[in-house]
């Protein structure tokens, strides 16, 4: 069964009597353990798609099934729980809480967890060690470099053992060296079985993924997976 199943998703934004159709009939299936990148020029609807995928907003119409659960019509409470338990976010601008230590930033999702598991600190420490940040546990966001901040963000996205990691331009604010390291981390996570959806407009970043989906003007214009299948059928 697919982890993500989107059928004819539409998203419109209303502006004083003016309706913009940002996503038009998007149909998308992503299997568990998949490594997908979504590409497209700015304004194509990448971020909107990611917001819907991450349960940050809801589609105007269409069906979105995440991990077997129809999430398109959930209320705020349930949607928050889905975000909390199933999704980890990595942002271009890192989005760490200012003035708070790396360790505490990593444990943030657990504040809102239904049950806070024992040994939070140890788990956070282990994750920070995994991303090579064991020497910066008690530094606040402002005291860390961009690359370091992004590694903390990745650790934070993993703390709840989510089914899906959504990364929005994760290398956008990083130099090439840190960018490579971040992508390396993602590659390793995929090997461990995590599903990752990457949103980017840089081809070399997108090429890390096994499957590249291009989106333009609110519609999927190409999908390497589908093309392979078509090719296979043609052959």
């Amino acid at each position: 069964m697919a982890l993500i199943e989107m059928n004819s998703i539409c998203k419109n934004y209303k502006n004083i009597g003016f309706e913009t159709r940002v996503l038009k009939n998007v149909r998308l299936h992503i299997e568990e353990g998949d490594y997908v990148s979504i590409m497209g020029p700015s304004g194509a609807g990448k971020s909107t798609l990611m917001a819907i995928m991450g349960c940050l907003s809801q589609p105007t119409s269409g069906e979105y099934i995440l991990d077997g659960q129809e999430v398109g019509k959930l209320n705020d409470r349930k949607l928050s729980r889905v975000r909390n338990e199933k999704i980890g976010f990595v942002f271009q601008a890192f989005h760490l809480l200012p003035g708070v230590t790396a360790l505490e930033n990593v444990t943030l999702p657990l504040i809102y967890a239904r049950q806070s598991p024992r040994g939070i600190k140890e788990k956070a420490r282990a994750l920070l060690t995994k991303v090579g940040m064991e020497h910066r546990l008690h530094h606040t966001a402002g005291q860390l470099s961009g690359g370091e901040q992004q590694r903390v963000t990745i650790a934070r996205s993993l703390i709840n053992s989510p089914r899906l990691i959504l990364a929005d331009e994760p290398t956008g604010n990083l130099d090439s060296k840190n960018g490579r390291e971040t992508m390396q981390t993602f590659d390793n996570l995929v090997k461990e079985g995590t599903t990752i959806v990457l949103i980017t407009h840089a081809l070399e970043v997108a090429q890390h993924a096994r499957r590249i989906i291009s989106i333009h003007d609110g519609q999927i214009v190409s999908d390497s997976d589908r093309e392979e299948k078509t090719e296979a059928r043609v052959l």
């Binding site: 940050l56 907003s57 705020d76 928050s80 729980r81 975000r83 976010f89 989005h95 708070v100 504040i111």
Partner: protein, 404 residues
């Protein structure tokens, strides 16, 4: 527990935004300061008045009549010269009256050689001592013959004695009041300062007749104290007294009394009335300042939410529900308000102590302002926090995460 975690996040938020936290507390702080001070003054005044009543030597079977129209202690009243010694004699004729003490009073400088002090000088009759039940420390009290001879004799309270004579024995010495010398014939036993700082020992007593001819140069009395046999006789006696005085003063039916009664009950009533007036003022001032404080909190929180949109977005992304954000911001506003309250109480107590210390106002600290402040602050925090908190909670997570 989720609620405690939100509380923790709120604390962290306040710590990180110290400047705005401080600004937010100011309004509430001022409100609670004024509340604390006014409550302290209210209690202080009440304690002092009660103190004075006790020290007027009122038993339940006595009351005072003060010359002049009006109410209670407000001395600048009309027709203050109509009460005479004859009135007092007529009152003594009433069957229910045990003692009558007519009195004149004047605040004067009393001088012994180079030492001098200002004190309250009373012209009284020998019955004063019986009515007040005040023992002598040394010497004798004024006698009937002192009265008849208009003798220049004085009985001193402990305070002027100490100031004028230090360690010397004052009995038989002469002190000067205006242009006359008086012989010190007796010393009153010391009572000591009352709780509110009133000094009952600050007085000097001379024969009423001497006072009339040498101090006030007038025959009218300032007050008459009436002692009945039993407390139950007081109301009826007061009515009889009223009729006698009205007749003696030839007041027409329409004219108001040109004298006032003072009883422990009437003083209590007056205190209660003034306390109520004070309380009304208190409620008004506190309401206005807490309202202002609340609005300040609301505005600063609204501004700070605009600054913290991103933080809210991040929290929402990682699973914070609307209720979590609402709670966090509500906790922030309630805590800010309580913090302002605590600071206000501190400042209020300091001011209250200062007022008492420097004799500006009598104050008395009670638990009341603490409880009131706690309640008011929580209320202000909740009422004025709810709007910003809801506003924060209903930001779209998608948009707030993208806000720059």
């Amino acid at each position: 527990m989720r609620i405690f975690k939100n509380f923790g996040q709120a604390l962290r938020g306040l710590r990180l935004n110290r400047a705005s936290t401080f600004l937010m507390t100011l309004g509430v702080m001022i409100g609670i300061t004024s509340l604390t001070v006014i409550v302290a003054i209210g209690h202080g005044v009440k304690t002092e008045v009660l103190d004075r009543i006790t020290n007027m030597g009122f038993g339940p079977e006595s009351f005072s009549i003060i010359a002049g129209e009006g109410r209670m202690f407000f001395t600048r009243s009309k027709n203050t010269t109509s009460m005479t010694l004859e009135d007092a004699e007529n009152l003594l004729a009433l069957p229910t009256v045990q003692l009558v003490v007519p009195r004149q009073r004047k605040r004067l400088r009393i001088i012994n050689k180079k030492e001098f002090t200002n004190t309250r000088v009373y012209g009284v009759t020998p019955d004063w001592q019986l009515a007040r039940n005040w023992k002598m420390k040394d010497g004798d009290f004024l006698s009937d013959s002192d009265m008849n001879q208009k003798r220049r004799a004085v009985v001193l309270g402990a305070t002027p004695t100490r100031k004028l004579f230090k360690d010397a024995d004052p009995i038989g010495k002469m002190v000067r009041l205006q242009n006359n010398f008086y012989e010190v014939i007796g010393l009153l036993e010391e009572k000591g300062l009352t709780e509110s700082g009133y000094d009952p020992d600050d007085r000097a007593l001379i024969p009423l007749t001497t006072s009339m001819s040498r101090l006030t140069h007038a025959t009218h009395l300032h007050s008459i104290k009436v002692v009945t046999f039993y407390p139950s006789q007081v109301p009826a006696t007061m009515e009889n007294v009223r009729q006698i005085l009205r007749r003696n003063h030839s007041l027409s039916v329409l004219a108001a009394d040109d004298f006032r009664f003072i009883t422990p009950e009437s003083i209590m009533q007056w205190v209660t009335e003034s306390e109520q007036a004070l309380n009304r003022m208190l409620i008004l001032i506190s309401t206005v300042s807490l309202l202002v404080g609340g609005i300040v909190i609301m505005n600063i929180l609204l501004v700070s939410i605009r600054e913290r949109v991103r933080e809210i977005g991040i929290r929402r992304c990682f699973g914070a529900r609307r209720s979590d954000i609402t709670l966090q911001f509500l906790f922030e506003s309630v805590m800010v308000s309580l913090l302002g309250g605590i600071m206000g109480i501190g400042l209020g107590l300091a001011i209250s102590f200062g007022l008492q210390r420097f004799d500006i106002f009598p104050t008395h600290i009670t638990a009341e302002p603490f409880i009131l402040s706690f309640l008011f602050c929580t209320l202000v925090g909740l009422v004025f926090g709810i709007h910003p908190a809801r506003k924060a909670a209903f930001l779209s997570p998608e948009e707030s995460i993208r806000a720059q």
